[in-house]
């Protein structure tokens, strides 16, 4: 299938998933649509490098546009704490990646990307660029998103209702 055809299929899946409110719907919907199509016909394609670079640049631009003076003000003197928390999470991620690599046959690059606590879209894009198994990284990050959201809701509900 041509790049344009795959892009059209991805757009349909992405827009559908985003419109029904699935988190990171654009990514998940297009991946499921195009990936599912490829699994059904049992072949894979490789889109042009320029296409993939453009996609990553657009994503980086979107994140960069969120950096505002208001954001820096709201973090204020908590910024050191925020950076400390980020450092801790990266270290915990690296430790988990080391265990994952030892307990499974996952390669080192994929294990680090899968256990790094970044955003789903950003980790997906970076994984592709760094030559990891991007589909596996996306799948593990989706499990992380789901698991942590469920844990957060359960714990906060237990605390607010006096169960914990």
């Amino acid at each position: 299938m041509s790049t344009l055809g795959l892009l059209a299929l991805g757009a349909v899946g992405g827009v559908l998933a985003a419109s029904v409110g699935i988190p990171a719907g654009g990514l998940v919907g297009s991946l499921v649509a195009v990936g599912g199509f490829n699994l059904l016909r049992e072949r894979e394609d490789r889109l042009p490098d320029s296409f993939r670079v453009f996609a990553r640049v657009v994503l980086g631009t979107v994140i960069g546009s969120l950096v505002t003076v208001e954001l820096l003000r709201s973090v204020g003197w908590w910024s050191l704490l925020a950076v400390g928390a980020a450092v801790l999470l990266v270290l915990v991620g690296l430790a988990c990646a080391a265990v994952l690599r030892r307990t499974t046959d996952c390669d080192r690059r994929t294990a680090i990307m899968a256990m790094s606590p970044g955003g789903l879209s950003e980790m997906a894009a970076l994984s592709e660029e760094l030559g990891c198994q991007a589909s596996l990284v996306v799948a593990i990050h989706m499990v992380r998103k789901l698991l942590i959201t469920v844990v957060a809701i359960v714990v906060l509900t237990a605390v607010t209702t006096g169960l914990l």
Partner: protein, 167 residues
């Protein structure tokens, strides 16, 4: 704000992303675009963040690219490694929760706010939970944005360093 403002942000992002990509820095295309767009927005504070439509478009481009190269192999691997992955992710939650609890006792922030701020979850999902439970959404979102930018800047370099000795 004018109609040209988003175009200005995109042009800055393109210049930064393509510039860093040409320098062959790990993760250069994302990080270059992020730095250029971020610098522009700090320099011109009247510029507004790009709308959710552009973010969805970027996600579709990336999802299509990954989907096109998808085979059955990663799903077989995830099935095989489901228990190590689940336990490791739960361990990650326990460690970060302990850190959040410690910060909650040392600072005047509410325990719920600092716990949600330090969880390794998705910014959109955690903020949605914070809204429901009436926590400090602005601070929580800021912590998660700092983490995502930090991870984006550091992890590609760590991956390259960690794999210099082999896969």
């Amino acid at each position: 704000m004018t109609e040209l403002d988003p175009l200005l942000t995109i042009l800055a992002g393109l210049a930064g992303g393509l510039g860093f990509h040409r320098l062959r820095l790990p993760g250069g295309s994302i990080i270059g675009a992020l730095l250029a767009a971020g610098a522009l927005h700090l320099w011109q504070p009247q510029l507004e963040p790009l709308g959710p439509g552009i973010r969805t478009a970027a996600q579709i481009l990336i999802g299509t690219s990954i989907g096109a190269a998808t085979t059955r192999q990663p799903f077989r691997e995830l099935t095989r490694m489901r228990w190590p992955v689940t336990w490791l992710l739960l361990g990650m939650v326990v460690v970060t929760s302990a850190f959040g609890a410690a910060l909650g006792t040392w600072t005047e922030l509410s325990l719920g706010t600092i716990w949600l701020a330090t969880l390794p979850g998705s910014i959109n999902d955690v903020v949605a939970v914070a809204l429901d439970f009436e926590q400090d959404v602005g601070l929580i979102a800021a912590f998660h944005v700092v983490r995502q930018i930090f991870v984006l800047g550091l992890v590609p370099w760590l991956v390259i360093r960690a794999t210099e000795r082999g896969p």
